[in-house]
Symmetry: C2
Subunit: 147 residues, 2 copies
């Protein structure tokens, strides 16, 4: 059993954030002692790990709440929970793909500015054609420009 202060340290989350999650209904398993003080147990910590994961995957608090609620209901909601994770998987895969395109654009810009800094001016590189680029850079450029 842990106090809110201990959990705050463990997860590196501010105390008000933990209270906020509780208020929003994300911590179903959270119990209180006789003087209304929150007592976090292993189940609550596991819930927090899942919350952190789902948050980082871009899910909104209200949808995480929905999921936590399904968990509380029990086996009747297994299919919904499975589907949720399958959708989240697709969503993350798409986010990674998108970021890889953005990364190509940014890598192209890194090359561009390296050249510009070397030249001391942007003039020469500004109107470069595809043919004048090194092959690997051309690839970055093409990837990036059909975003």
């Amino acid at each position: 059993m842990y106090t809110i202060g201990e959990v705050s340290e463990m997860f590196n989350l501010p105390i008000p954030t933990l209270r906020y999650y509780d208020k929003e209904g994300l911590l179903n398993d959270l119990k209180r002692d006789k003087s209304r003080i929150r007592k976090f147990n292993e189940k609550t910590l596991e819930a927090l790990r899942v919350i952190e994961c789902l948050k980082k995957s871009g899910m909104q608090i209200k949808d995480i709440k929905q999921f936590m609620h399904w968990c509380a209901i029990g086996d009747k909601t297994l299919i919904k929970r499975k589907e949720m994770f399958e959708n989240q998987k697709i969503s993350i895969e798409n986010q990674i793909k998108d970021l890889q395109k953005i990364l190509d654009m940014v890598k192209y810009k890194c090359w561009y500015y390296e050249k510009a800094v070397k030249d001391g001016t942007e003039k020469n590189i500004k109107n470069i054609t595809l043919e004048e680029m090194p092959k690997d850079i051309r690839k970055l450029y093409n990837n990036a420009h059909n975003i």
Copy 2:
């Protein structure tokens, strides 16, 4: 030369968003005609492409504004702009790495719920040990659990 309505369609951005970007100083090259109507040219469109890219990479409007301002100043700011893109490159690479860890966690959960749905209950799988997991799933689990 394009009107704000045309650009809105081309970029699939609401008109008020384009006005907002202009107001925030992201569109230095934007000119007006005699009756104060915005006229977008190729340079503005290229700026919008860069803005979209930087936004998707997680950069804030105020930092994009800073970058656009550097662009307007000219060759004196080349090193700053190069450094900005180099930092953004690292940031995106880290975002991708983080998402890949999250993805492993979510893939593990997909496997977990597939099994649970097959069983019709979460009971059996709930307390599964590392040894009882298939090797590839154990790998996902381990990757995910040192987030």
